[in-house]
Subunit: 199 residues, 4 copies
């Protein structure tokens, strides 16, 4: 069987590639060959939303890389379902460059923020499936792990999803509120407490 | 000589990169700058076939990653032919983004489903070459492996190829039948039994 | 907690990907199908600035890969801030393909050389944040490291940043002076002395 | 100092990425949305040269991956020059997707085959620099390695370069002769004997 270490190494590869591919979505603007420096400068400002989407997506993937590591740190065995759930999670992570490009291109549309939110939800849900499968009845984790520790671990896993849902709802008020929430959540988990981090 | 572990690590790198590059084939639609959210939403539906092709190709590569691991788990030594067959297999895997993009762009054409099927056949055949070379006369595997285990292992390796051939034949009836078979085969092997998995 | 070894391995993956993605920014020129060989030859010369930007960016990332390794070689423990600063550093490194493409496309504009310089500064500053955090009060490094060694290590970390700032200032005279400085700095550190290299 | 193992692992990452990026240069042809299957089929034949260039470049990089491993298998220590020469070699390898795309797009031009040949020469020369530096006076290799073994190892390293030079010369007769030689050389080293392979 594939060991947790091997699955984790493969996942790390996918994380490193996705996080690096994001920049390919920011294309250099096409301008006349002998454009003046100030015209180019002005033009670069229109890349602002793409840059913001780049930084946001980089942070989201970075936080999940950390959280994925903490989760696999507790997993002792692997089985087929773990492989499947992890593959679905990696599919969600690999998908992020698309909604990132969409949000960078059409940041003022509810459609783009909703698609981005959908990707965040898919990533969060598949990530939680991994832990749900592994921790239920101590199936793949250390049998000595106290139940209350497992129960507590779920808090940090649901709160971001609820935040994203609230953020998506706020898009009916203004899409910038949604984007603000998308930015705050990974920043919080990066600087304060990573989901699934053991104390 | 290159060890099986080293070949496997290199192959894992290629798997991780191909599976992550797939998303680059789904491009954000080009629309007027101040497109309305609902126009963008409608436009996104035309990406349906590309998304399906993305998920399909992700699963195919994911299943082969698992199967590749199980195969190399049984290989004890490496020789030049193993290197060559593995390189041909990796070439087939690395090729998949092209038929995936073709199928996503022209899903209604027999040409696209045939090219995709050809890529699946090439991948399956080169994958079987690895195992044929390694297992024949116990050349690169544990000499204690019973013959009936090796013989049984071939079933799971030929059935998907026969399914793909039948699927390609069905494209003369309707291409959607072919696509349905392309989807069912990896789903079956992902959820039920991976080719070459030891019991 | 994530160990320094694991953070380093992940960083190595990002380095390898970014350094390899750079070539994707050099696109084959679009010419009539039956272009003559000499017309193609002439056209290739217009790729000169892109090629120079490719080589420059390759060297910059290569030098940082070496320097990153030397830095992590001295780090014994990891904490959350190290993770965050390393992630910010990787974001700066992953960002380089964009200013590289910009400089290759518009090498005669002050805007392009300034954006490239900005990326170099960001990379240098986030790289120094890692070492500042790790070495301060021997927080994450060997407690036996003499203070004067740490103090000396800062020289090699600030000089390139000052060079880049001077180079950016020289862009008001001529952008080619700036580009010359951008080329000399990594060449110097590649051939003579890597920043943070232990004696 | 960076160990040979670490340099090799980083190089493996670059190899895996370059070999996988090659497919991105084969773009799906742009056709009217409801193109007939037979029109698409006809159009795909125009991709022939790109496919050939893909397979050729895949084999070249694959052969160098094997040869690089054999070389580093003999290297015991690392120094700055090894790092620099290896970085130059990786730059040459990472550069290959560009001449590969050029050859696939303009296979009938002497310019494209010459640029491809130039990339092959650069790769071969920088690869030989690594071995020249490491083996001279047994600088970085096992001091017990007999001199005649080192001397013999040079044959397999110069013959391909001479073949490429002859091939480039033959482009004045017909470019297809050059391409034939580019194909035969890696095929020979893949199937018969890898440069630098120990007996």
């Amino acid at each position: 069987m594939l060991t947790p270490q091997r699955i984790e190494a493969f996942s790390d590869g996918v994380f490193a590639i996705v996080i690096t591919l994001l920049i390919l979505e920011i294309k250099v603007p096409s301008l006349p060959e002998h454009v003046s420096s100030s015209d180019l400068f002005t033009k670069l400002f229109t890349l602002g939303p793409k840059l913001l989407s780049y930084v946001l997506s980089f942070l989201v993937i970075g936080v999940y890389w950390i959280a994925h590591h903490f989760t696999f740190h507790q997993i002792r065995r692997a089985d087929r379902q773990l492989l499947i759930f992890n593959l679905l999670f990696l599919m969600s992570i690999s998908f992020i460059p698309f909604p990132a490009a969409l949000l960078g291109e059409y940041p003022h549309t509810q459609t783009a923020v909703m698609v981005y939110g959908f990707a965040l939800l898919m990533t969060g849900i598949t990530f939680n499936l991994i832990w749900w499968h592994a921790s239920r009845n101590h199936r793949l984790i250390d049998s000595q792990t106290p139940l209350h520790v497992i129960r507590n671990s779920w808090k940090g896993r649901f709160v971001p999803l609820i935040c994203y849902l609230i953020g998506m709802g706020l898009s009916f008020v203004h899409v910038y509120l949604t984007i603000a929430i998308y930015i705050i959540v990974p920043l919080y988990y990066l600087t304060v407490r990573t989901p699934s981090e053991s104390k």
